[in-house]
Point group: C2
Chain length 329, copies 2
């Protein structure tokens, strides 16, 4: 029975969204604790009409806590998740730190809810781009096994947190006002630009973000599917988009795929090109589902299909997925 809940990293973009979602979904809890680093201690946030003060993330913070929703960064999770578990809590962790740990289930409730019960204290929340993709591919994989994925992402500034969004807005303001453009959070100016570089590069030339899509997809889907990703930061504020080509063991029809999406969990079919209807990030900020459109046969391979998906990666891609895991606990 979950009574006492703590949000670790409560002041970040995902932490703030967790707060909202717990209230919106009327998550059954008695006490909520907001934890953050020293410089945020004492800040106040409202939850169900009550003011909550941010407390320091420290060893003693997890006493009597039943559930920790963690999104404070990999190094904080590495240090404090085991402490929280020792104190008796279950940790749903939004960072990358535990995701590929064989002892930690990596869960998207629409895809592999059964893995939740294998947990030993920690359950990992996958990377946002992976969550969106596997939610969309799950009902298709149920029709016929997906063997190959090529994906190019269009990831918004919010993937770099609240400061990422603020920096992008500031850059456009500076451009309009004719001032020099401030670049801090991103490696380069993002306004009017594209940056084909998210997270750090690994030895094979892929970024960690791209390797997450390869590795996490296999773990979540319990599949040997091969996924080649190109992850690109674009000048959108919120919502990630993905152009996905996939190949299945048997050929599928557009109708089969459309019906699978229509009836799939956490999915919205948004595909009426005759009326210029397809998912776009600007319209979908703050939504919970993954929107799928542009469903068409792949012209480059016989058993292939192409889709275009958009989702609010702060919600479904992070905070909402974590709360959905907690609800199933």
């Amino acid at each position: 029975m979950i009574r006492n809940v703590a949000i670790m990293g409560a002041t970040g973009a995902v932490g703030q969204e967790l707060l909202k979602i717990l209230e919106q979904r009327n998550f059954p809890l008695q006490n909520l604790k907001l934890l953050a680093s020293e410089r945020s201690v004492g800040r106040e946030y409202e939850f169900k009409g009550e003011k909550l003060k941010v407390e320091l993330t420290c060893k003693d913070a997890f006493k009597n806590v039943d559930l920790v929703l963690s999104s404070a960064g990999a190094s904080v999770s590495k240090e404090f998740a085991p402490i929280a578990v020792d104190a008796g809590a279950v940790v749903v962790d939004n960072t990358s730190f535990f995701r590929m740990d064989p002892n930690v289930p990596l869960v998207v409730p629409e895809v592999n809810p059964e893995d939740i019960k294998l947990h030993k204290g920690i359950i990992a929340n996958p990377n946002c781009t992976t969550i969106m993709m596997v939610v969309a591919l799950k009902p298709i994989n149920d029709l016929s096994k997906i063997t190959r994925i090529h994906v190019a992402t269009y990831q918004s500034a919010s993937g770099a947190g609240a400061t990422g969004m603020a920096e992008l807005k500031q850059q456009y303001q500076e451009i309009v006002e004719g001032k020099p453009v401030t670049v801090k959070k991103f490696a380069h100016q993002l306004a009017y630009n594209l940056i084909p570089h998210i997270d750090v590069f690994t030895d094979n030339g892929y970024t960690k973000e791209e390797m997450k899509m390869f590795n996490e997809t296999r773990k979540i889907m319990h599949s040997d599917v091969r996924c080649a990703a190109t992850c690109v930061r674009v000048s959108a504020l919120r919502c990630h988009s993905e152009a996905i080509s996939f190949e299945t063991e048997r050929p599928l029809s557009i109708e089969e795929v459309s019906n699978a999406i229509k009836n799939g969990e956490g999915l919205q079919l948004c595909d009426d090109v005759a009326n210029n209807v397809y998912p776009m990030p600007l319209n979908l900020m703050g939504t919970d589902d993954v929107y799928v459109g542009r469903i068409r046969k792949d012209l480059a391979c016989d058993n292939g299909m192409n889709i275009w998906i958009v989702g609010d990666q702060i919600r479904k891609g992070a905070a909402l997925n974590a709360v959905q895991i907690a609800e199933r606990l």
Copy 2:
């Protein structure tokens, strides 16, 4: 011998770039004529220190003209290109109208220059996204035949011409000033957004822009390669970018591909991820070559490779390619 040159559609984004490129490359001509529709007649533009007045595109405009560089739209080309040819001119046409006509060569000088001499008066300039892709793939195809291409594009506002760029700038200005956003040129607001829809939709669910990448690539490369494209408008001002996955008959090494790009015509290798070096649209406005980076083995198929390319599609994608064709005439 080319003496008298006319630019048809001289006041548009490509027309203006044609004017610049003819001057920059000191194209050997004696007289230059600027042609446009009625509302632009009388406007003046400078060429090599001389003021040129825009004249009306009409039947008599092509008398004594040896070469027409045309970028006024498909319907204007349809009407006036045959008239110009009858008057004795060669037409290098930037529109889509004649591209798939079996009697009209479709030429990228770095790829199929030999096709120029097959012309019967009209030579077609391919679509910008296709030009950039085939320039990058040509030296790789020479190493081993490319059999399959998956490409996702990130196309800037300038693909919709000068008014497209102006509208995007205006949208950001309006957002910064807290005003309602004007949407005219694009189907939806482009600022802070992505629009997975360029040109009109065809019966198979692909847009014409996407089908151009399939059909034109085969014609230019004299190949049965299969190409599946997703074309997306992004919030960049100028330069198109493309995430390309391709498969070859034999497996290639990263070194082979890098060397092919380094030594390829019209190409710049821009691939040093250890130092955050990869092509980006913001840095490459006004450049002539296609920049290639993020070269890496495809994780999804054995003979596959992934690359990321960026090019200024108004120059190499349109105006420069047309002038290069004319230079070889």
